[in-house]
Amino acid sequence: MKMLDSIRDKNIISKCIILIISIIAALLIGAVFLMVLGVNPVESYYYLLIRPFQSLRSIGELSIKLTPILLIGIGVSFTFQAKLTNLGGEGQICMGAIGMTLVGISPLAEALGPWWILPGMLTAALFGALWAGIAGFFKTRFKASEIITTLLLNYIAVQFLSYCVYYPLRDHKGNIPQSAKVASTLPKLIEGSRMNAGVILAVIGVIIYWIIIRKTKFGYNLRVLGGSIKASVYGGISKKKYYLIAMLISGAFAGIAGSIEIAGTQTRLVEGLAGTYGFDGVVASLMGMQHPVGVLLSSILLAGLSVGAETMQVKTGVSSLFLNVLEALIVLFILLGFSFFNGKGGKNE
């Protein structure tokens, strides 16, 4: 009892312990699966967890996956702070990518040279924000659940992106449905890897998030909304306004993630460029408990896992889908751990 009490007092530390135990537990259960498959779990985990960090090339790959996960994770964290859920990262990336491409293949981009990326990103942020804003508008105006609307908007955005690459934005030089190359790309950071300047932007995003949430009245108001809606009414904080702004910010972050995909990684608009980043971002935010460092670390973990899963598939023959099992187990254990500890939290009079 005493020990549990002392853990509960140190809120953040106890949560971190839960997280680490959850990850270890998930890995242990995963190991059982691997053994059933007849694979050496130690070897598999080496490829999954350690290998991605061992070479510059694979760290570069990791950074490419990290950037969108982190940006979405931060964006989603804004909404989670106000107890809103934005599951529309995927669609917002798509819209951001479309916005970026529109600028990137326009005559304006040719004229601006590498500086086209700035207006491009602004456009992408705007596109993403507007897409999330639709859900925000429905939420504040008609009380429509943002969980449903953001999710449904994903399908529309993904299909719209397909339409764009097949028809209006299609590059007719080739047979593949894709747009023309954008004018220029983000600068590479390390020779011999694909790491680009986007990852720096993502880290700056984390810092901005930290300042806004912890140090401004705006962030404070968001957190009051998340902490108790009744208290926000008492404090004269407009629920509608802050819900909408949180959604817009969240969408803007996703839009920028989309723009970096275009200007950094893909260099042109292609189908499926959003991948699973939308949901990985949500997982990163939940796992990191919306704490800036937490979101950063869990994004690195998720990005590392997805790079490692590919290596593991090649080296040991275990399907990279194994990763889904592992991630699901991690989330499951985290939820279990938190509900276990929260249920016992009492008042100390």
């Binding site: 401004t216 009245k217 404070y220 208290a231 008492y234 004269g236 009492g346 009079e349």
Partner: protein, 510 residues
């Protein structure tokens, strides 16, 4: 009355929750025909003790004897079979069922046929007659008043043959007239030889109806006294462990005619959370340096009135004026900027965000917290919080303490400190002392009085008549969302206000 025999005896009851001793070696006995008051503040261990007796908790140590025989009570069912019954603060009734059906539910295994129903009804009527309990047996419980439902609970226990009846704060939810009826029933029960344990923290009623008093404080018995020898101050000392000086309260004679009201509601109507209109056109002015008390049974629109006047609820109709200037009821910011402060009834979720550290709650309902350049200046904010906590004796580990960890009294002091730190023009207090111990209660009341004497106009909603009469300069009575009368506390009585609250004898048409 028959000869005095011990119905029930508790010996050395001890119960701990973790490291907290809720009950520490408590002895208690109840004779037949006796009303035994169990007095103590919130958290003194009264409810824990009774829950042990009723088989809801299991004691760590101690023995229970019934008519001299040791018994083990493992569940409420056991307790009932030994003749111990309890009326909880929250009634255990199926709302859609009638009184008769609720009572049938308690133990009968026979199907409720027409003839069986008649049999139960006959028995119940006999009991009603014997103890003077007037209830409607056949209407669904939800249509009956709280007082009525409580009587059904008592009847239910009598039907099961309870010899010892535990009443857990039975008067907390009743208006004075209903209290009188309850007390009559209780004394009838005692006359018929039942033993009654009457739990309360209200001294006056305990002194007026009980035979013996046992005082609990911090889990221990701190006093045992026959009521006829009891003295109010001595009992308070037993309850609190120290003397409490109750300040003399000066009333403000009302010379409001020439003044501008700080806050004025004009024909205000509003809906509650469920969208049902509960406020039906109320006009009320609050002037500087006065306390306006609102008396009404809960759910008669007083909460909505407080919220509209504090700017946190939109009025469906009608206008609000601050210093005779109209403000929109849509925007709390106008109220906040004009110095209208609010101490809400729900301190845990409205008055504060439970997960925040105290210093973050310090800037709730504050539109201009300390800033350095664009950012919140938490260093200054923490200093302000710390100072307020010292001034208002808020006991916590510091400004960083999580708000949910504070006890009700400390949190209320904190919220009061926050409201008064902004030098408000008007202060709206909704049940400011509900659930607080005597010390904290008087601390809050003194702060309200201090604010009044410094010129603040105060709206005080309270369910505690003693408080309303002691503090208010005038009392406004509400019934069904309307004001049905206004009295001066020195010219009125609890009884008069009580009947007005029920919608009878009002000065105006209800």
């Amino acid at each position: 009355m028959a000869e005095k025999k011990t119905l029930l005896e508790l010996k050395g009851i001890t119960k701990s929750f973790g490291s907290f001793k809720a009950n520490d070696n408590i002895d208690l006995n109840v004779f037949n025909g006796e009303i035994h008051a169990l007095l103590g503040e919130n958290g003194a261990g009264k409810s824990t003790l009774m829950n042990i007796l009723f088989g809801i908790y299991k004691a760590d140590k101690g023995k229970i004897y019934i008519s001299g025989k040791e018994v083990k009570i493992q569940s409420p069912k056991d307790a009932l079979s030994y003749g111990i019954g309890m009326v909880h603060q929250h009634f255990m009734l199926v709302e859609k069922f009638s009184a008769l059906e609720n009572i049938y539910l308690l133990g009968d295994e026979k199907p409720l046929t027409f003839t069986h129903r008649k049999k139960i009804e006959t028995r119940l009527n006999a009991l009603k007659e014997k103890y003077g309990i007037e209830v409607d047996l056949n209407s669904p419980v939800e249509q009956l008043s709280i007082g009525m439902q409580q009587k059904i609970e008592i009847l239910k226990l009598l039907y099961t043959g309870a010899e010892v009846l535990i009443l857990d704060e039975p008067t907390a939810i009743l208006i004075p007239q209903e209290c009188d009826i309850l007390f009559e029933i209780i004394s009838n029960l005692a006359k018929e030889g039942k033993g009654i344990i009457f739990i309360s923290h209200k001294l006056d009623e305990v002194l007026s109806i009980s035979n013996r008093i046992t005082v609990l404080s911090k889990g221990k018995v701190t006093g045992r006294i026959a009521t006829k020898d009891a003295d109010k101050n001595a009992i308070i000392k037993m309850m609190v462990g120290e003397e409490i000086s109750i300040p003399e309260i000066k009333k403000t004679s009302n010379n409001n005619t020439n003044q501008i009201p700080i806050l004025r509601a004009d024909e205000v109507e509003a809906k509650d959370e469920r969208g049902i209109q509960t406020l039906n056109g109320v006009s009320l002015s609050i002037y500087p340096s006065e306390i306006v008390g609102i008396a009404s049974v809960e759910g008669n629109g007083q909460e909505e009135l407080a919220e509209v006047m504090a700017g946190v609820r939109k009025a469906a109709k009608g206008n609000m004026f601050i210093n005779n200037k109209q403000v929109s009821t849509r925007a709390a910011k106008d109220f906040i900027d004009n110095g209208i402060e609010y101490v809400p009834a729900d301190r845990n979720y409205v008055g504060s965000v439970p997960d925040f550290p105290l210093y973050e709650n310090w800037i709730l309902r504050n539109r201009k917290p300390s800033k350095k350049r664009m950012l919140l200046d938490y260093i200054t904010i923490k200093q302000q919080t710390g100072k307020a906590m010292e001034d208002y004796d808020v006991r916590a580990r510091g400004a960083e303490e999580r708000t949910a960890n504070l006890s009700g009294g400390n949190l209320q002091k904190f919220i009061m400190a926050r409201a008064l730190s902004k030098n408000p023009k008007a202060l709206i207090c909704s049940y400011p002392t509900r659930g607080l111990d005597i010390k904290a209660t008087w601390f809050i009341r003194e702060k309200v009085l201090e604010a009044k004497s410094s010129g603040v106009g105060i709206l005080l909603i309270s369910g505690d008549f003693e408080e309303l009469f002691a503090l208010s300069d005038r009392i406004v009575v509400m019934y069904r969302g309307k004001i049905v009368g206004e009295v001066l506390p020195e010219d009125s009585s609890v009884r008069e206000v009580g009947s007005m609250m029920m919608g009878v004898n009002s000065h105006e048409d209800a």
